[in-house]
């Protein structure tokens, strides 16, 4: 316990099965195309406020998604569209929430940053940086209390990892041996501040070490590496040994939100990442090497495009919430 092994890429061991590769590819492509469409709808004024896209980080949710079992819970920040789609929430319901329509998961009352699904055990969608870490620890508390065998996946950014409540949560989870998989999505920037300028810790994967939380640093652009690490972490949690921490080295291609001019990094840095590390292209190349036929990609491409187009049409035509919705859902029983 308490040891951190640096793993910048996947360990030797079985790579993904063909079925897993196909699932991961579909999920990543769905998230990518969904987010591109969301960006377009924002530009048209159909989505308002803040809208944080997940483009570039798809391997993280896709890899963890492969390792999740039914009943596992998840929670994240406002950069939440990818988590929701992989958790099994519908593209229609998510997109309609982005446009603020009655067909959205929160009937249009939550928006991009605040969405939930009790059915898919997805607990949000949180606008306050770091809040989900304590809340996610509470999701794991329930599992320990009820012995329900579930693991709670708690996603947060490297920027959020500086918040005090993160460390209060680490202490609690270790003390109470909670089945909590903490996932730091280190995409190198918190808004315009690079990780070097925000954190004195040089290795975020070791941030749980004082509490003896075992961890791995993972190539978050490689879906197989993510899957492998997630399996290890979740097994640890499920066996009653307490929390586990994964630091995902990932990257966001777009600005922090739709209104970020992103002057804090060179365009070439983004282009280089896209060209050499893109999680979808990398997996595709590997699948082709494994002899998966070109027709598979064509079919998935067509299916995903159709799903996203359908979601966008639904989101544009779903009616706005009825004014009576203003006064519903404030308290139970009223």
């Amino acid at each position: 316990m308490g040891s951190t092994t640096d793993v910048s890429s996947r360990q030797n061991g079985p790579a993904l099965t063909q079925e897993e590769m196909e699932r991961a590819y579909k999920n990543m492509l769905l998230v990518r195309r969904f987010e591109e469409k969301a960006g377009q709808l924002y530009g048209m004024g159909l989505i308002g406020g803040f809208c944080h896209l997940y483009i570039g980080q798809e391997a993280v949710v896709a890899g963890i998604g492969l390792a999740m079992k039914k009943g596992d819970r998840s929670i994240t920040s406002y950069r939440d569209h990818g988590q929701m789609l992989v958790a099994g929430m519908t593209a229609r319901g998510v997109m309609a929430e982005l446009t603020g329509r009655s067909g959205g998961y929160s009937h249009g009352k939550g928006g991009s940053m605040h969405m939930f699904s009790k059915e898919q055990e997805f607990y949000g969608g949180h606008g306050i940086v770091g809040a989900q870490v304590a809340l996610g620890t509470g999701l794991a508390f329930t599992s320990a209390y009820k012995h329900d065998g579930a693991v709670s996946i708690v996603y947060f950014g490297e920027g959020a990892s500086n918040q005090g409540q993160v460390y209060e949560s680490f202490n609690l989870a270790a003390l109470l041996k909670l089945p909590c998989l903490y996932v730091i999505e280190n995409n190198r920037y918190g808004m315009g501040t690079s990780v070097e300028r925000s954190s004195a810790s040089k290795d975020l994967s070791k941030n749980g070490a004082p509490w003896g939380i075992p961890s791995r640093k993972v190539d978050g652009m490689d879906v197989a590496a993510v899957y492998q690490a997630a399996q290890e972490g979740m097994e640890h949690c499920r066996s009653g040994k307490g929390p586990f921490l994964l630091e995902m080295e990932t990257y966001r291609y777009r600005g922090h939100s739709m209104s970020d001019p992103a002057k804090y990094r060179q365009r070439s840095e983004v282009d280089e990442m896209r060209r050499t590390r893109d999680p979808i292209e990398s997996l595709k190349a590997e699948m082709i090497k494994h002899g998966i036929d070109e027709s598979f990609f064509k079919t998935v491409d067509t299916e995903v495009k159709a799903t996203v187009k359908d979601a966008a049409e639904f989101a544009e035509t779903s009616p706005e919430p009825d004014p009576s919705e203003l006064w519903t859902d404030i308290l139970v029983g009223e």
Binding site: Q40, G43, R101, S106, M113, H114, S198, R254, S259, P323
Partner: protein, 461 residues
């Protein structure tokens, strides 16, 4: 099939922008995600990325064109291999007027939902300038706040600014633009996302000899630090029998912005105004912003400055005098009237002034008080006005329960009961978390008509 590329909305408050530069030329092949143009929004220059693969068939709006409404077609995207003449087949005329309002310019699908909800404010409504300060110049509230900090930092070496994205990024809302260049990174400090920690650190620093300005990216995030604002900053002077002083400013945008949902849209006026040991100001105009922020920085006490994001880009006349400062604790009569007193602060001053114009059309002459300071409250100005008009309506964006309006009405009843011809009334935001949906958000925040209705009710209509 050829399709139009529309002027995108690139921020929650953008309704129009300037096409600074085309990065791609007519005939260039573009890939989804590639930068095709640079667009200047109300806050910054943004790169516009292609949303689809294709060929830039025709550019409709030239480099440097300003005031292009969101959703105006700016170019035509062709499919690879398609002839440029395919652009002719597109009907671009209906949406291509530069002068159309954003709502009119929006495509039919979006018509139920304007690109940017109209801000409930009329910054241009005539109001009495600062007569004693002479000459004025039109500046934005954003510039006024920046100028106030710069002026005080020049005056006093102990004043410094800290917060998230205040230095290199020039402020998440560009309020601290240029300050890093002028004052360097010793006095303009980027903080990690650690509000509780850096606020506590700043309070400790203030107690021991320096004068921090703490910027919260929005006041919503001051909740992370509220313990230090109340338990550490506000109470230490009292608990130390007057030995300690805590000269610190906590500032940031407060209240609803545009479509950012319940966790990012909350008014903290009554929260902070409740606390002995704090002063609280809430500027509306650029003059308010500059004068009150300068006073807040000079004040030897902890002062909370509640700004407003929607007002940041609004222009107002502001005194140019280098010594311009406003007193904390003094309200301003923005419009004189004899029939009813409207009391408002921050963005609601604009709503009250608009309501006053509407009331004037019906022969009711409203006096509008801009509170400027919420703690200590200028009860004298309020009471004197009520004694003249015999009616009072408070207007605030926040919730009704235990709000600023509750306090105003109580003051009127306690101190001017015999002068009142009608029960004091409150206009407030609806008593609900702010919804995201465009239509619901519009229904949840006070409008001039709500004020008119409250006044008419007092007149028995």
């Amino acid at each position: 099939m050829a399709s139009p590329i529309l002027m995108p909305a690139l921020s929650p408050t953008m309704t129009e922008g300037t096409l600074a530069r085309w990065v791609k030329k007519e005939g260039d092949t573009v890939r989804s995600g590639e930068v095709i143009a640079e667009i200047e929004t109300d806050k910054a220059t943004m790169e516009m990325e292609a949303a689809e693969d294709g060929v830039l068939g025709r550019i409709l709006i030239a480099d440097g064109t300003a005031d292009i409404a969101v959703n105006t077609p700016i170019a035509v995207l062709l499919e690879e291999g398609e002839d440029a003449s395919a652009a002719d087949a597109l009907d671009l005329s209906a949406k291509s007027s530069n002068t159309a309002s954003p709502a009119e310019a929006a495509p039919a699908a979006a018509s139920a939902q304007p690109a940017s909800p109209q801000a409930p404010v009329a910054a241009s409504t005539a109001h009495i300038a600062e007569p004693e300060w002479g000459e004025t110049a039109e500046i934005t509230v954003r510039e006024a706040l920046r100028d106030a900090m710069a002026a005080e930092m020049r005056r006093d070496e102990d004043v410094f600014l800290l917060g998230e994205e205040v230095a290199q990024y020039q402020g998440a809302y560009k309020v601290s633009q240029g300050l890093l260049d002028e004052f360097g990174d010793k006095r303009v400090l980027d903080m990690p996302i650690t509000e509780h920690g850096f606020t506590g650190m700043a309070v400790g620093a203030a107690l021991s000899g320096v004068k921090p300005i703490v910027e919260f990216m929005t006041m919503n995030f001051s909740l992370q630090a509220v313990d230090h604002i109340i338990n550490s900053a506000a109470k230490t002077r009292y608990m130390s029998g007057g030995q300690m002083t805590c000269p610190i400013v906590f500032r940031g945008p407060n209240g609803a912005a545009a479509r950012v949902g319940a966790q990012h849209s909350q008014c903290f006026a009554s929260w902070y105004a409740h606390i002995p040991g704090l002063k609280v100001v809430a500027p509306w105009s650029a003059a308010d912003a500059k004068g009150l922020l300068r006073a807040a920085i000079r004040d030897p006490n902890p002062v909370v400055v509640l700004e407003n994001e929607i007002l940041y880009g609004k222009k107002f006349p502001c005194p140019v005098d280098e010594d311009f400062v406003l007193p904390i604790g003094k309200a301003k009569i923005e419009r004189e009237g004899k029939d009813v007193t409207l009391v408002a602060f921050s963005i609601m001053v604009g709503v009250a002034l608009e309501a006053a114009e509407k009331l004037a059309e019906q022969g009711i002459d409203a006096e509008v008080i801009n509170l400027r300071t919420l703690r200590p409250l200028d009860t004298e100005t309020i009471i004197n006005s009520v004694k003249k008009t015999n009616r009072i309506v408070s207007v605030e964006e926040g919730w009704p329960a235990a709000g600023i309006g509750s306090e105003i009405c109580t003051v009127a009843v306690e101190q001017a009961f015999d002068w009142l011809d009608a029960p004091p009334a409150r206009v407030c935001g609806l008593d609900i978390p702010l919804p995201y949906a465009a239509n619901l958000e519009q229904l949840a925040l006070p409008k001039p008509q709500w004020v008119v209705d409250a006044v008419l009710k007092q007149f028995g209509d």
